[in-house]
Symmetry: none
Subunit: 237 residues, 2 copies
DNA sequence: GCTGGTTTTACAAATGCTTTACAGGCGCCG
DNA sequence: CGGCGCCTGTAAAGCATTTGTAAAACCAGC
């Protein structure tokens, strides 16, 4: 997900295999998390004790200090911090240890990425820390609530589609400069290799957005077009 | 965990392996249950027949008297007491056998801790023996009385099924944001690993609910759909 | 068996996104 | 100033996906 502004859930991932660590980091960043990747048990424990995370993804097999030990130590400091164990072992013994150590869940490798994300979200949801109110986007006349896909102007409720919200969030992240169609297509749409643009879909979306949020769509004050450059968002910082 | 208002649900756990038994006990105590741990089949049966439990977690492989036998005997006394079987066996045969014995669910080892907890909760909710939320749910026009499986609108009484009430309660716990079908399936239905959804059962339930609680089911005001995201509950706070 | 609740099936309808097509508009040159 | 291009605005049509829902199938409890 793109342009999530605030309150990203913070994940600590402790996993020694570099490739997996990077893969997981990418996936969760893409899904709107803030990730601290650590590839070493001892430093993992330090990071965990340092605090500030909403959930720990913890590999069991680690050089130096294994996952169980880390889990144990973390539990002594914070009994509620959600911990999900990752492991190649599927033996009963491991489950038992995971249970004893107070892990919140236990995901055997090889796991499906989607499943892992789903479990992380489930655990966070229960702990009450998932994507709690994303900060509202204040455009002056209009206030956008990204999470609800809606906004308000003068008490009136305006429904948005998710794409519209993404666009607004992205533009808001670029306050003060015009954003080109090309940039929007790559960053919001996720298109790649946008060299020669023939699509007009960006323009259409801007028209629709203006109709929803501008006082006078014919003379836009919030989404202004910068000829040859793109669109720029104005309004309260 | 959501809105646990009343007496803790009482769990009987019958499992011979001491470590697992302790682990499970910890987990469920931590999750707000009252647990009676028993490590022996015969005493397990005694405890079960003694009554007073809301659900039995039953390992199949037990010394002396196996899980099937226990399940059978319990069923002769109490046809409704929820029983969840735990087993290392994963063959279809075993599942069929377990379910035929009257088990309500069947969790193969190694299981995910969260999944187990979720299934226990799902079964409890469905059994209707667990009244987590005695407080009436105020939806403005409609007031829902979860424990009675009914609601009122303008003096009219509306009957609900337990699943319907569960859905409403869950949505109510997520006021202000749309809830995805996936989330509903995992949190209300207790499904696990819902990666690609093919079932439409959530939609159907929403249709039925709308028919019951909306002033005009064709233009819902309470259960609104957020395209691509799910359903969202509106109405009084 | 019946019965009430739930799920699947199958198809219709609605919605959002993209494309198409055309109409202005803006800048720049002479 | 007027004309020529290129950029932008937007209505309308096309398309794919999501959602609504009737009806049938399923299934457990009596």
């Amino acid at each position: 997900m793109i342009g999530m502004q605030t309150a990203k859930p913070r994940l600590l991932i402790i996993e020694d295999e570099q490739a997996i660590l990077e893969g997981l980091t990418d996936v969760f960043v893409y899904n709107g998390y803030e990730v601290e990747p650590v590839s070493d048990g001892v430093r993992g424990l330090e990071a965990a004790l340092g605090g500030g995370h909403h959930l720990i993804l913890l590999d069991i097999m680690l050089p130096g200090m294994d996952g169980y030990a880390i889990c144990n130590q973390v539990r002594e400091v914070d009994r509620r911090l959600p911990i999900i164990m990752l492991t190649a072992k599927t033996s009963e013994e491991d489950i038992v240890r995971g249970l004893r150590m107070g892990a919140d869940d236990y995901v055997p490798k090889p796991f499906s990425i989607r499943e892992l994300v789903a479990r992380v979200e489930a655990v966070l949801r229960r702990s009450g820390r998932l994507h709690r109110d994303m900060a509202a986007l204040d455009l002056g006349e209009v206030i956008v609530h990204p999470e609800r896909l809606s906004g308000t102007r003068a008490g009136e409720e305006i429904p948005f589609t998710s794409r519209e919200v993404e666009i607004l969030l992205y533009l808001a992240g670029c306050r003060g400069r015009p954003v080109s169609r090309q940039e929007l297509l790559t960053e919001v749409w996720g298109y790649s290799n946008v060299e020669y643009i023939e699509t007009r879909t960006v323009d259409i979306h801007m028209t629709k957005l203006r109709r929803k949020i501008e006082r006078d769509p014919k003379h836009p004050e919030l989404i202004v077009t910068v000829r040859g450059k793109g669109y720029q968002l104005r309004g309260a910082p």
